[in-house]
Protein backbone atom coordinates (compact mmCIF):
# COMPACT_ATOMS: atom_id res chain seq x y z
CA UNK A 1 0.00 0.00 0.00
CA UNK A 2 2.93 2.24 0.77
CA UNK A 3 3.96 2.20 -2.85
CA UNK A 4 0.51 3.41 -3.90
CA UNK A 5 0.98 6.36 -1.63
CA UNK A 6 4.47 6.79 -3.05
CA UNK A 7 2.96 6.89 -6.47
CA UNK A 8 0.38 9.49 -5.57
CA UNK A 9 3.01 11.52 -3.79
CA UNK A 10 5.02 11.24 -6.95
CA UNK A 11 2.36 12.71 -9.20
CA UNK A 12 2.85 16.30 -10.10
CA UNK A 13 -0.70 17.31 -9.18
CA UNK A 14 -0.03 16.50 -5.55
CA UNK A 15 2.83 18.94 -5.42
CA UNK A 16 2.51 21.61 -8.05
CA UNK A 17 3.09 25.09 -6.74
CA UNK A 18 1.64 28.18 -8.32
CA UNK A 19 5.14 29.31 -9.20
CA UNK A 20 5.76 26.20 -11.23
CA UNK A 21 2.45 26.56 -13.01
CA UNK A 22 3.28 30.15 -13.90
CA UNK A 23 6.72 29.15 -15.17
CA UNK A 24 5.05 26.58 -17.40
CA UNK A 25 2.93 29.35 -18.85
CA UNK A 26 6.10 31.38 -19.35
CA UNK A 27 7.55 28.39 -21.20
CA UNK A 28 4.50 28.18 -23.42
CA UNK A 29 4.82 31.88 -24.07
CA UNK A 30 8.41 31.39 -25.18
CA UNK A 31 7.36 28.48 -27.40
CA UNK A 32 4.71 30.67 -28.98
CA UNK A 33 7.27 33.39 -29.65
CA UNK A 34 9.81 30.90 -30.98
CA UNK A 35 7.53 28.88 -33.21
CA UNK A 36 4.85 31.31 -34.27
CA UNK A 37 6.79 34.56 -34.24
CA UNK A 38 10.19 33.16 -35.15
CA UNK A 39 11.93 34.78 -32.15
CA UNK A 40 15.47 33.29 -32.13
CA UNK A 41 13.94 29.79 -32.13
CA UNK A 42 17.31 28.04 -32.06
CA UNK A 43 17.73 29.17 -28.47
CA UNK A 44 14.27 30.00 -27.23
CA UNK A 45 12.78 26.63 -28.12
CA UNK A 46 15.32 24.60 -26.12
CA UNK A 47 15.17 27.16 -23.31
CA UNK A 48 11.41 26.83 -23.19
CA UNK A 49 11.55 23.04 -23.06
CA UNK A 50 14.21 23.24 -20.37
CA UNK A 51 11.94 25.60 -18.45
CA UNK A 52 9.06 23.16 -18.74
CA UNK A 53 11.22 20.30 -17.52
CA UNK A 54 12.80 22.07 -14.58
CA UNK A 55 9.38 23.10 -13.33
CA UNK A 56 7.83 19.64 -13.38
CA UNK A 57 7.06 19.20 -9.70
CA UNK A 58 8.91 16.31 -8.14
CA UNK A 59 10.83 15.33 -11.26
CA UNK A 60 14.00 16.86 -9.86
CA UNK A 61 15.50 17.41 -13.30
CA UNK A 62 17.26 20.50 -12.02
CA UNK A 63 18.37 19.09 -8.68
CA UNK A 64 21.97 18.42 -7.88
CA UNK A 65 22.78 15.25 -5.94
CA UNK A 66 22.95 17.48 -2.84
CA UNK A 67 19.55 19.03 -3.43
CA UNK A 68 18.03 15.62 -4.17
CA UNK A 69 19.47 14.33 -0.90
CA UNK A 70 18.13 17.24 1.13
CA UNK A 71 14.72 17.04 -0.52
CA UNK A 72 14.58 13.30 0.15
CA UNK A 73 13.62 14.26 3.69
CA UNK A 74 15.45 11.23 5.08
CA UNK A 75 16.32 12.02 8.69
CA UNK A 76 19.79 10.45 8.63
CA UNK A 77 20.64 12.22 5.39
CA UNK A 78 19.37 15.55 6.69
CA UNK A 79 21.44 15.19 9.84
CA UNK A 80 24.61 14.79 7.80
CA UNK A 81 23.80 17.84 5.71
CA UNK A 82 22.96 19.92 8.78
CA UNK A 83 26.35 19.01 10.15
CA UNK A 84 28.13 19.85 6.93
CA UNK A 85 26.32 23.16 6.46
CA UNK A 86 26.78 24.09 10.11
CA UNK A 87 23.05 24.45 10.83
CA UNK A 88 21.15 23.87 14.06
CA UNK A 89 19.65 20.37 14.51
CA UNK A 90 16.16 21.83 14.05
CA UNK A 91 16.90 23.69 10.81
CA UNK A 92 14.11 23.26 8.27
CA UNK A 93 14.58 21.71 4.83
CA UNK A 94 14.15 25.14 3.28
CA UNK A 95 16.85 26.57 5.55
CA UNK A 96 19.17 23.78 4.45
CA UNK A 97 18.45 24.40 0.80
CA UNK A 98 19.11 28.10 1.26
CA UNK A 99 22.34 27.43 3.10
CA UNK A 100 23.40 25.02 0.36
CA UNK A 101 22.59 27.41 -2.47
CA UNK A 102 24.51 30.23 -0.86
CA UNK A 103 27.45 28.13 0.33
CA UNK A 104 31.03 29.00 -0.60
CA UNK A 105 32.58 27.14 -3.51
CA UNK A 106 34.33 24.70 -1.20
CA UNK A 107 31.31 23.92 0.92
CA UNK A 108 29.07 23.67 -2.14
CA UNK A 109 31.36 21.05 -3.62
CA UNK A 110 31.51 19.14 -0.35
CA UNK A 111 27.72 19.07 -0.29
CA UNK A 112 27.64 17.70 -3.85
CA UNK A 113 30.14 15.01 -2.92
CA UNK A 114 28.15 14.11 0.16
CA UNK A 115 24.92 13.81 -1.82
CA UNK A 116 26.54 11.62 -4.44
CA UNK A 117 28.26 9.45 -1.84
CA UNK A 118 24.85 8.82 -0.26
CA UNK A 119 23.68 7.42 -3.59
CA UNK A 120 21.65 10.38 -4.82
CA UNK A 121 21.87 11.42 -8.45
CA UNK A 122 21.92 14.82 -10.08
CA UNK A 123 19.08 15.62 -12.45
CA UNK A 124 19.68 15.81 -16.18
CA UNK A 125 19.36 19.57 -16.46
CA UNK A 126 21.72 20.14 -13.55
CA UNK A 127 24.26 17.88 -15.23
CA UNK A 128 23.87 19.66 -18.54
CA UNK A 129 24.23 23.04 -16.83
CA UNK A 130 27.39 22.00 -15.02
CA UNK A 131 29.04 20.65 -18.11
CA UNK A 132 28.05 23.35 -20.57
CA UNK A 133 27.54 26.64 -18.78
CA UNK A 134 29.13 26.46 -15.34
CA UNK A 135 32.30 25.24 -17.03
CA UNK A 136 32.06 28.14 -19.47
CA UNK A 137 32.66 25.82 -22.40
CA UNK A 138 29.36 26.06 -24.29
CA UNK A 139 29.40 29.81 -24.93
CA UNK A 140 33.01 29.51 -26.09
CA UNK A 141 32.17 26.77 -28.58
CA UNK A 142 29.25 28.78 -29.89
CA UNK A 143 31.58 31.72 -30.30
CA UNK A 144 33.91 29.47 -32.28
CA UNK A 145 31.07 28.42 -34.56
CA UNK A 146 29.89 31.99 -34.98
CA UNK A 147 33.45 32.98 -35.82
CA UNK A 148 33.50 30.31 -38.52
CA UNK A 149 30.32 31.83 -39.98
CA UNK A 150 31.48 35.45 -39.82
CA UNK A 151 32.77 37.38 -42.81
CA UNK A 152 35.01 40.27 -41.77
CA UNK A 153 35.23 41.48 -45.39
CA UNK A 154 32.96 44.54 -45.03
CA UNK A 155 34.71 45.51 -41.81
CA UNK A 156 38.14 45.23 -43.40
CA UNK A 157 37.02 47.31 -46.34
CA UNK A 158 36.07 50.11 -43.97
CA UNK A 159 37.82 49.60 -40.63
CA UNK A 160 36.64 52.94 -39.28
CA UNK A 161 33.28 51.30 -38.67
CA UNK A 162 34.92 49.48 -35.76
CA UNK A 163 34.30 52.69 -33.85
CA UNK A 164 30.57 52.28 -34.34
CA UNK A 165 30.84 48.86 -32.74
CA UNK A 166 32.69 50.53 -29.88
CA UNK A 167 30.15 53.31 -29.37
CA UNK A 168 27.22 50.91 -29.24
CA UNK A 169 28.74 49.25 -26.18
CA UNK A 170 27.59 52.31 -24.27
CA UNK A 171 24.35 50.35 -24.15
CA UNK A 172 26.14 47.98 -21.82
CA UNK A 173 27.99 50.33 -19.55
CA UNK A 174 25.36 53.06 -19.48
CA UNK A 175 22.86 50.48 -18.31
CA UNK A 176 25.23 49.22 -15.64
CA UNK A 177 25.53 52.73 -14.32
CA UNK A 178 21.80 53.25 -14.58
CA UNK A 179 21.13 50.06 -12.61
CA UNK A 180 23.54 51.24 -9.96
CA UNK A 181 21.84 54.62 -9.76
CA UNK A 182 18.41 53.02 -9.47
CA UNK A 183 19.71 50.75 -6.74
CA UNK A 184 21.14 53.79 -5.00
CA UNK A 185 17.74 55.43 -5.28
CA UNK A 186 16.21 52.34 -3.70
CA UNK A 187 14.18 51.49 -6.80
CA UNK A 188 16.07 48.32 -7.59
CA UNK A 189 18.36 46.05 -5.67
CA UNK A 190 21.40 44.96 -7.59
CA UNK A 191 24.99 44.38 -6.59
CA UNK A 192 27.62 45.76 -8.95
CA UNK A 193 28.21 42.25 -10.32
CA UNK A 194 24.52 41.82 -11.00
CA UNK A 195 24.29 45.23 -12.62
CA UNK A 196 27.18 44.32 -14.90
CA UNK A 197 25.57 41.01 -15.85
CA UNK A 198 22.31 42.80 -16.65
CA UNK A 199 24.06 45.49 -18.64
CA UNK A 200 25.74 42.93 -20.90
CA UNK A 201 22.29 42.32 -22.42
CA UNK A 202 22.98 45.56 -24.28
CA UNK A 203 25.76 43.73 -26.09
CA UNK A 204 22.99 42.06 -28.09
CA UNK A 205 24.99 38.89 -28.11
CA UNK A 206 23.53 35.75 -26.57
CA UNK A 207 26.61 33.65 -25.82
CA UNK A 208 28.46 36.65 -24.36
CA UNK A 209 25.52 37.39 -22.10
CA UNK A 210 25.36 33.80 -20.88
CA UNK A 211 29.12 33.66 -20.39
CA UNK A 212 29.21 36.81 -18.26
CA UNK A 213 26.03 36.02 -16.35
CA UNK A 214 27.36 32.56 -15.44
CA UNK A 215 30.46 34.17 -13.98
CA UNK A 216 29.09 37.30 -12.31
CA UNK A 217 25.49 36.53 -11.43
CA UNK A 218 24.43 32.94 -12.15
CA UNK A 219 21.26 33.50 -10.13
CA UNK A 220 20.04 35.89 -12.84
CA UNK A 221 21.21 33.84 -15.82
CA UNK A 222 17.80 32.60 -16.88
CA UNK A 223 16.19 35.99 -17.08
CA UNK A 224 19.25 37.57 -18.69
CA UNK A 225 19.49 34.93 -21.40
CA UNK A 226 15.80 35.09 -22.21
CA UNK A 227 15.86 38.89 -22.26
CA UNK A 228 18.95 38.96 -24.47
CA UNK A 229 17.55 36.58 -27.06
CA UNK A 230 14.08 38.13 -26.99
CA UNK A 231 15.35 41.64 -27.58
CA UNK A 232 17.67 40.40 -30.32
CA UNK A 233 14.55 39.08 -32.02
CA UNK A 234 12.82 42.40 -31.42
CA UNK A 235 15.55 44.50 -33.02
CA UNK A 236 13.35 45.28 -36.07
CA UNK A 237 10.76 46.81 -33.70
CA UNK A 238 13.09 48.47 -31.20
CA UNK A 239 15.60 50.15 -33.43
CA UNK A 240 13.77 51.97 -36.28
CA UNK A 241 11.97 54.59 -34.12
CA UNK A 242 15.24 55.49 -32.40
CA UNK A 243 17.11 55.61 -35.68
CA UNK A 244 14.51 57.89 -37.23
CA UNK A 245 14.29 60.14 -34.19
CA UNK A 246 18.03 60.79 -34.19
CA UNK A 247 18.55 61.35 -37.92
CA UNK A 248 17.26 63.79 -40.49
CA UNK A 249 15.80 62.61 -43.76
CA UNK A 250 18.87 63.98 -45.55
CA UNK A 251 21.20 61.97 -43.34
CA UNK A 252 19.24 58.81 -43.98
CA UNK A 253 19.65 59.38 -47.72
CA UNK A 254 23.45 59.57 -47.57
CA UNK A 255 25.06 57.26 -50.10
CA UNK A 256 28.25 55.59 -49.02
CA UNK A 257 31.30 54.85 -51.15
CA UNK A 258 31.30 51.38 -52.65
CA UNK A 259 33.32 48.97 -50.49
CA UNK A 260 36.64 47.83 -51.95
CA UNK A 261 37.33 44.16 -52.35
CA UNK A 262 39.30 42.58 -49.54
CA UNK A 263 42.09 40.09 -50.21
CA UNK A 264 42.28 36.63 -48.71
CA UNK A 265 45.51 37.49 -46.91
CA UNK A 266 43.83 40.36 -45.05
CA UNK A 267 41.02 38.09 -43.97
CA UNK A 268 43.48 35.52 -42.67
CA UNK A 269 45.63 37.99 -40.78
CA UNK A 270 42.78 39.99 -39.24
CA UNK A 271 41.69 37.38 -36.65
CA UNK A 272 45.34 36.93 -35.73
CA UNK A 273 45.72 40.68 -35.32
CA UNK A 274 42.78 40.68 -32.93
CA UNK A 275 44.37 37.83 -30.97
CA UNK A 276 47.66 39.69 -30.65
CA UNK A 277 45.90 42.84 -29.49
CA UNK A 278 43.98 40.77 -26.95
CA UNK A 279 47.23 39.26 -25.73
CA UNK A 280 48.80 42.67 -25.31
CA UNK A 281 45.89 44.69 -24.00
CA UNK A 282 43.14 42.57 -22.49
CA UNK A 283 44.04 38.96 -21.65
CA UNK A 284 40.76 38.50 -19.82
CA UNK A 285 38.98 38.66 -23.19
CA UNK A 286 41.18 35.86 -24.50
CA UNK A 287 38.73 32.95 -24.14
CA UNK A 288 35.82 34.62 -25.94
CA UNK A 289 37.78 36.46 -28.61
CA UNK A 290 40.28 33.64 -28.91
CA UNK A 291 37.63 31.09 -29.82
CA UNK A 292 35.90 33.59 -32.09
CA UNK A 293 39.12 34.29 -33.97
CA UNK A 294 39.98 30.59 -34.06
CA UNK A 295 36.65 29.86 -35.74
CA UNK A 296 37.16 32.67 -38.21
CA UNK A 297 40.71 31.58 -38.97
CA UNK A 298 39.51 28.03 -39.66
CA UNK A 299 37.08 29.47 -42.18
CA UNK A 300 39.33 32.02 -43.86
CA UNK A 301 42.49 29.93 -44.01
CA UNK A 302 40.67 27.60 -46.37
CA UNK A 303 42.91 24.68 -45.42
CA UNK A 304 40.75 23.06 -42.74
CA UNK A 305 37.35 23.15 -44.37
CA UNK A 306 36.23 19.94 -42.71
CA UNK A 307 36.91 21.40 -39.27
CA UNK A 308 35.27 24.68 -40.19
CA UNK A 309 32.25 22.81 -41.50
CA UNK A 310 31.89 20.81 -38.30
CA UNK A 311 32.33 23.93 -36.16
CA UNK A 312 29.53 25.61 -38.11
CA UNK A 313 27.17 22.68 -38.10
CA UNK A 314 27.26 19.51 -36.02
CA UNK A 315 29.26 21.05 -33.20
CA UNK A 316 27.47 24.37 -32.79
CA UNK A 317 24.09 22.67 -33.18
CA UNK A 318 24.89 20.12 -30.50
CA UNK A 319 26.15 22.79 -28.14
CA UNK A 320 23.11 24.96 -28.83
CA UNK A 321 20.75 22.14 -27.85
CA UNK A 322 22.51 21.61 -24.52
CA UNK A 323 23.01 25.31 -23.89
CA UNK A 324 19.33 26.00 -24.39
CA UNK A 325 18.21 23.20 -22.10
CA UNK A 326 20.78 24.31 -19.53
CA UNK A 327 19.52 27.86 -19.51
CA UNK A 328 16.17 26.29 -18.73
CA UNK A 329 17.76 24.96 -15.54
CA UNK A 330 18.01 28.55 -14.35
CA UNK A 331 14.34 29.18 -15.08
CA UNK A 332 12.99 27.77 -11.85
CA UNK A 333 10.16 29.75 -10.33
CA UNK A 334 12.10 31.09 -7.37
CA UNK A 335 14.91 32.28 -9.61
CA UNK A 336 12.63 33.86 -12.21
CA UNK A 337 9.47 35.03 -10.51
CA UNK A 338 10.80 37.99 -8.59
CA UNK A 339 11.47 41.66 -8.93
CA UNK A 340 14.86 41.19 -10.51
CA UNK A 341 13.36 39.66 -13.62
CA UNK A 342 11.09 42.65 -14.11
CA UNK A 343 14.04 44.97 -13.63
CA UNK A 344 16.08 42.91 -16.09
CA UNK A 345 13.35 43.17 -18.70
CA UNK A 346 13.18 46.94 -18.30
CA UNK A 347 16.93 47.48 -18.14
CA UNK A 348 17.57 45.11 -21.02
CA UNK A 349 15.27 47.13 -23.24
CA UNK A 350 16.93 50.34 -22.12
CA UNK A 351 20.33 48.82 -22.87
CA UNK A 352 19.27 48.00 -26.42
CA UNK A 353 17.87 51.49 -26.94
CA UNK A 354 20.90 53.24 -25.51
CA UNK A 355 23.25 51.10 -27.56
CA UNK A 356 21.30 51.84 -30.73
CA UNK A 357 21.29 55.55 -30.01
CA UNK A 358 24.99 55.61 -29.15
CA UNK A 359 25.81 53.85 -32.42
CA UNK A 360 23.75 56.29 -34.48
CA UNK A 361 25.18 59.34 -32.72
CA UNK A 362 28.72 58.07 -33.17
CA UNK A 363 28.02 57.61 -36.87
CA UNK A 364 26.78 61.19 -37.06
CA UNK A 365 29.92 62.38 -35.34
CA UNK A 366 32.13 60.39 -37.67
CA UNK A 367 30.21 61.66 -40.66
CA UNK A 368 30.91 65.19 -39.52
CA UNK A 369 34.61 64.50 -39.05
CA UNK A 370 35.70 62.11 -41.79
CA UNK A 371 36.03 62.58 -45.52
CA UNK A 372 33.99 59.66 -46.86
CA UNK A 373 30.29 60.09 -46.11
CA UNK A 374 28.82 57.78 -43.47
CA UNK A 375 25.12 57.12 -43.33
CA UNK A 376 24.20 57.36 -39.62
CA UNK A 377 21.74 54.49 -40.06
CA UNK A 378 24.58 51.98 -40.06
CA UNK A 379 25.51 53.08 -36.55
CA UNK A 380 22.64 51.17 -35.02
CA UNK A 381 24.11 47.94 -36.40
CA UNK A 382 26.96 48.38 -33.92
CA UNK A 383 24.96 46.65 -31.20
CA UNK A 384 25.65 43.35 -33.05
CA UNK A 385 22.52 41.11 -33.21
CA UNK A 386 24.08 39.83 -36.43
CA UNK A 387 22.69 40.04 -39.09
CA UNK A 388 19.32 41.36 -37.98
CA UNK A 389 20.59 44.83 -37.00
CA UNK A 390 22.36 45.26 -40.34
CA UNK A 391 19.18 44.32 -42.15
CA UNK A 392 17.29 46.90 -40.13
CA UNK A 393 19.82 49.56 -41.16
CA UNK A 394 19.29 48.53 -44.77
CA UNK A 395 15.52 48.56 -44.49
CA UNK A 396 15.29 51.97 -42.87
CA UNK A 397 17.76 53.24 -45.46
CA UNK A 398 15.62 51.93 -48.30
CA UNK A 399 12.59 53.70 -46.88
CA UNK A 400 14.45 56.97 -47.20
CA UNK A 401 15.98 56.21 -50.57
CA UNK A 402 14.85 53.09 -52.46
CA UNK A 403 18.15 53.09 -54.39
CA UNK A 404 20.42 53.08 -51.33
CA UNK A 405 21.56 49.66 -50.23
CA UNK A 406 23.26 49.86 -46.84
CA UNK A 407 23.39 46.15 -46.02
CA UNK A 408 27.07 45.59 -46.75
CA UNK A 409 28.06 48.88 -45.15
CA UNK A 410 26.14 47.92 -42.02
CA UNK A 411 27.77 44.49 -41.80
CA UNK A 412 31.03 46.20 -40.78
CA UNK A 413 29.72 47.79 -37.57
CA UNK A 414 27.58 44.70 -37.06
CA UNK A 415 30.51 42.32 -36.66
CA UNK A 416 32.46 45.10 -34.92
CA UNK A 417 29.70 45.01 -32.33
CA UNK A 418 30.48 41.36 -31.62
CA UNK A 419 34.12 42.21 -31.02
CA UNK A 420 33.08 45.22 -28.97
CA UNK A 421 30.87 43.31 -26.60
CA UNK A 422 33.45 40.57 -26.21
CA UNK A 423 35.93 43.28 -25.22
CA UNK A 424 33.36 44.68 -22.80
CA UNK A 425 32.97 41.20 -21.36
CA UNK A 426 36.73 40.99 -20.92
CA UNK A 427 36.74 44.30 -19.08
CA UNK A 428 34.12 42.98 -16.69
CA UNK A 429 35.98 39.76 -16.01
CA UNK A 430 39.14 41.74 -15.37
CA UNK A 431 37.30 44.29 -13.20
CA UNK A 432 35.77 41.66 -10.93
CA UNK A 433 38.49 39.01 -11.31
Amino acid sequence: MQSLINLWNDTGIAHIESGQAIMMLVAFGMLYLAIKKGFEPLLLLPIAVGTLMVNIPGAGMGWSAAEAAIRSGDAAVLAQFRDLLGLAPDASMQAMLDAYHHATAGLYKKALTLGASLGFESGMLYTFYSVTIASGVAPLLIFMGVGAMTDFGPLLANPKTLLLGAAAQFGIFGTVFGAVLLTDAGLMDFTLQQAAAVGIIGGADGPTSIFIASKLAPELLGAIAVAAYSYMALVPLIQPPIMKALTTDAERKIKMVQLREVSKAEKIIFPLAILVLVALLLPSAAPLLGMFCFGNLMKESGVVERLSDTAQNALINTVTIFLGLSVGYKMSSDAFLNGSTLAIIVLGLIAFCVGTAAGVLMAKLMNAVTKDPINPLIGSAGVSAVPMAARVSNKVGLEANPQNFLLMHAMGPNVAGVIGSAVAAGVMISFFG
Binding site: A166, L192, A265, E266, A416
Partner: protein
Protein backbone atom coordinates in the same frame (compact mmCIF):
# COMPACT_ATOMS: atom_id res chain seq x y z
CA UNK B 1 28.31 55.32 2.42
CA UNK B 2 28.07 51.86 0.99
CA UNK B 3 25.64 53.17 -1.64
CA UNK B 4 27.89 56.05 -2.62
CA UNK B 5 30.61 53.53 -3.03
CA UNK B 6 28.35 51.43 -5.27
CA UNK B 7 27.60 54.44 -7.46
CA UNK B 8 31.23 55.40 -7.68
CA UNK B 9 32.19 51.87 -8.51
CA UNK B 10 29.52 51.80 -11.21
CA UNK B 11 30.84 55.06 -12.62
CA UNK B 12 34.35 53.70 -12.56
CA UNK B 13 33.27 50.54 -14.38
CA UNK B 14 31.46 52.60 -17.00
CA UNK B 15 34.39 54.90 -17.63
CA UNK B 16 36.99 52.17 -17.66
CA UNK B 17 34.75 49.93 -19.71
CA UNK B 18 34.02 52.42 -22.46
CA UNK B 19 37.64 53.55 -22.29
CA UNK B 20 39.05 50.11 -22.87
CA UNK B 21 36.49 49.34 -25.56
CA UNK B 22 37.42 52.48 -27.44
CA UNK B 23 41.15 52.07 -26.96
CA UNK B 24 40.96 48.46 -28.11
CA UNK B 25 38.84 49.08 -31.18
CA UNK B 26 40.69 52.25 -32.11
CA UNK B 27 43.97 50.39 -32.01
CA UNK B 28 42.33 47.70 -34.09
CA UNK B 29 41.37 50.35 -36.65
CA UNK B 30 44.99 51.38 -36.96
CA UNK B 31 46.39 47.87 -36.90
CA UNK B 32 43.89 46.80 -39.54
CA UNK B 33 44.60 49.77 -41.73
CA UNK B 34 48.32 49.25 -41.39
CA UNK B 35 48.00 45.55 -42.11
CA UNK B 36 45.87 46.11 -45.20
CA UNK B 37 48.24 48.70 -46.58
CA UNK B 38 51.19 46.44 -45.95
CA UNK B 39 49.58 43.41 -47.52
CA UNK B 40 48.39 45.25 -50.57
CA UNK B 41 51.86 46.71 -51.00
CA UNK B 42 54.02 43.64 -50.56
CA UNK B 43 51.64 41.00 -51.80
CA UNK B 44 48.93 42.52 -53.95
CA UNK B 45 46.41 39.90 -54.86
CA UNK B 46 46.69 39.06 -58.53
CA UNK B 47 43.20 39.13 -59.93
CA UNK B 48 42.65 36.37 -62.42
CA UNK B 49 41.38 37.84 -65.67
CA UNK B 50 37.90 36.67 -64.80
CA UNK B 51 38.30 33.46 -66.70
CA UNK B 52 35.20 31.35 -66.45
CA UNK B 53 36.00 29.17 -63.45
CA UNK B 54 34.51 26.17 -65.14
CA UNK B 55 33.90 26.14 -68.87
CA UNK B 56 30.21 26.64 -69.53
CA UNK B 57 28.39 23.42 -70.17
CA UNK B 58 27.56 22.80 -73.81
CA UNK B 59 24.28 24.47 -74.50
CA UNK B 60 22.14 21.46 -75.32
CA UNK B 61 21.66 17.89 -74.16
CA UNK B 62 22.85 16.32 -70.95
CA UNK B 63 26.62 16.29 -71.13
CA UNK B 64 28.86 13.78 -69.34
CA UNK B 65 30.07 16.37 -66.84
CA UNK B 66 26.48 16.91 -65.84
CA UNK B 67 25.89 13.20 -65.43
CA UNK B 68 28.91 12.92 -63.19
CA UNK B 69 27.66 15.70 -61.00
CA UNK B 70 24.23 14.18 -60.87
CA UNK B 71 25.46 10.77 -59.93
CA UNK B 72 27.53 12.34 -57.20
CA UNK B 73 24.46 14.17 -55.94
CA UNK B 74 22.37 11.03 -56.09
CA UNK B 75 25.00 9.03 -54.29
CA UNK B 76 25.25 11.58 -51.56
CA UNK B 77 21.52 11.81 -51.24
CA UNK B 78 21.22 8.08 -50.91
CA UNK B 79 24.03 7.87 -48.42
CA UNK B 80 22.19 10.37 -46.32
CA UNK B 81 18.92 8.53 -46.43
CA UNK B 82 20.33 5.33 -45.14
Amino acid sequence: MAETSLVSQGLELMIFGMGVVFVFLTMLVFVTGFMSTLINKIAPEVKPALAPAAPAAPSAGVDPQLLKVLSAAVKEHRARQK
